[in-house]
C-alpha cells in the first residue's frame, strides 16, 4: 500500500468552484492567507460567493481583491477593522456581512468539520449576538444554538505539504487553516514547500492528509506574503 498523490495544477484545483458557492479562506491578517489561490479565484471569475474568513485583510491585499472584483455576495467574518474598503462595501449594502464572535466562528466551522450539527454556547447572551438565534436551556441557563458551517471549497495556505496532503503551518499562520481543512467538500491547499511522502514525521503533522483533496505547490511567494511595513 502507498498513500494517494493529490498534487494538482492550480487551475484544475479551483475549476470546480461555481457561482453561488460557499468558500472558506484561511488566514488571520497576512499569515496563513492563501494569497495566490485568491488571485486564481479572481481570475476564475465565479460570482455570488459566500466567503467565510476571519477578517478582510487590508486594502489591496488577500481577500480584498475578491471583494473589489464584486464576486462576493456575503461575507461571514469576525472583524473588518483593518480594511476600510470592506467596511465601505458593507455600509453601501454591496456585500452582506454576518459578524460572529471569533471563537464561535471557529467552533461553527469545526462543528461542520466534525460532523456535528451545532454547538450550544452562552457566548453573547445579553448582546446583539442573540438576534435570530435559537435558544436551548441547559441546566436552566440559556444557550445559543450555533449551527455548523460547511463550505463547497476551502482555500488554505500551508508552509509544508506532502503529496497526500499532510500539512504543517508556521507560527501564527496556522489560525483558521486546520479547522477549515475539516469543513469543506473540497479542500485546496497552496503550499510553500512540497516534500516527499515520509518527510513530515507522523507526529509532526498539523492537518492529516485525509482531510485534503488538492495540493498546489507555489512557484513563488509574491510580495503580498511579506512583512507589512506600516
Amino acid at each position: 500500500m502507498k498513500l494517494p498523490d493529490k498534487t494538482t495544477p492550480m487551475a484544475q484545483a479551483i475549476a470546480t468552484i461555481k457561482d453561488g458557492d460557499t468558500v472558506m479562506i484561511g488566514g488571520f491578517g497576512v499569515p496563513g492567507t492563501p494569497m495566490t489561490l485568491i488571485h486564481a479565484l479572481v481570475a476564475h471569475g465565479a460570482r455570488g460567493l459566500t466567503v467565510i474568513k476571519n477578517d478582510a485583510n487590508e486594502p489591496g491585499m488577500g481577500v480584498d481583491h475578491l471583494l473589489q472584483s464584486g464576486q462576493v455576495r456575503r461575507l461571514i467574518t469576525t472583524h473588518l477593522g483593518l480594511n476600510a474598503n470592506a467596511m465601505a462595501l458593507m455600509n453601501a449594502g454591496q456585500i452582506e456581512v454576518e459578524f460572529n464572535a471569533q471563537g464561535i466562528l471557529a467552533e461553527r466551522i469545526r462543528a461542520g468539520g466534525a460532523g456535528i450539527g451545532a454547538v450550544l454556547s452562552d457566548v453573547g447572551i445579553g448582546t446583539e449576538l442573540e438576534h435570530g438565534k435559537q435558544v436551548v436551556q441547559l441546566d436552566g441557563r440559556p444557550h445559543l444554538v450555533q449551527t455548523a458551517l460547511r463550505a463547497d471549497v476551502a482555500l488554505l495556505h500551508a508552509d509544508c505539504a506532502d503529496g497526500f496532503g499532510n500539512l504543517t503551518y508556521r507560527a501564527t499562520a496556522r489560525n483558521f487553516n486546520p479547522v477549515m481543512a475539516m469543513a469543506a467538500q473540497r479542500v485546496v491547499v497552496e503550499t510553500e514547500t512540497l516534500v516527499a511522502l515520509g518527510q513530515i514525521a507522523p507526529d509532526a503533522v498539523h492537518t492529516p492528509g485525509v482531510f485534503v483533496d488538492c495540493v498546489v505547490p507555489l512557484e513563488t511567494l509574491t510580495k503580498e506574503y511579506a512583512v507589512v511595513e506600516r
Binding site: M1, L3, A114, G115, F164, N166, M182, G198, V210, F211
Partner: protein
Amino acid sequence: MSSARDRLLARAAREIVPGMVVNLGIGLPTQVLAHVPAGIAACLHTENGMAGIGPALPPSQADRNLIDAGGAYVSTLPGSAFFDSVTSFAMVRAGRIDLTMLGAFEVAANGDLANWKIPGKFSPGMGGGIELAQKARRVVVISTHTDRAGNPKLKSACTLPLTAAGCVARIFTDMAVVDVGPRGFELVELAEGRSLAEVADATGAPLHVPDHPIATF
C-alpha cells in the same frame, strides 16, 4: 474454515479501490490488512488516531506506542499521520471515511446492523462502531454466514439492539457475497464449493438470486 477465511478476506480486500480511506473494524475486518494488494494507493484509518496503517508487526518488532483499535501492533507508511481521538472521529462523522468494514452479530434485509450488545450476555460497549456504521460513506460487513450454533446472522429483522439503521450495503461471509438492495438480500457471489441452495438455507430471509450466472470467489 481456514482457507475459506483467506479467500473471504482476499475477496473483501478487493473492495478497496485506489484513492479510498478505509477503516477496518475489530475482528475479522482487521485481518483484511494482510490481504490488501501491495501496490494500491489507499489509506487505512484506525479510530485510535492514525491514517496510513502499514503492516502488522510481531511483538518482538513492535513499537509499544503504535497499535490499532483492536490492540494489534502496526507500523507506519511514508506519509502516515497520527492525531487525537477527536480528530479521528471528525474524519468519520464528516464523511472522510469512504469505506468501513465491520463485524456483525446480525444484519437485517433492510441493512440494519447489530454488532455491539447481546443484552444479559455480552455488553462490552460500542466503542467507535456506532459512528462508523452510521457515518462512513459505505459500510460492508465481514462475518461468518451463521453463528456458532449454526443460526443465520442474515435475518429479516434484527432482534438485538441496533448499531445503526439501514447502514449495510454489502456482506462478505465464508459462504457468499450478498448485497442489501431495494428487495432485501441479493446474492452477488458464491464461495468456492458452496451451492446456491446451501447458502439460501443458511440465510434467515429471502435471498434474491440474479438471472445471470453467479461468480465464485
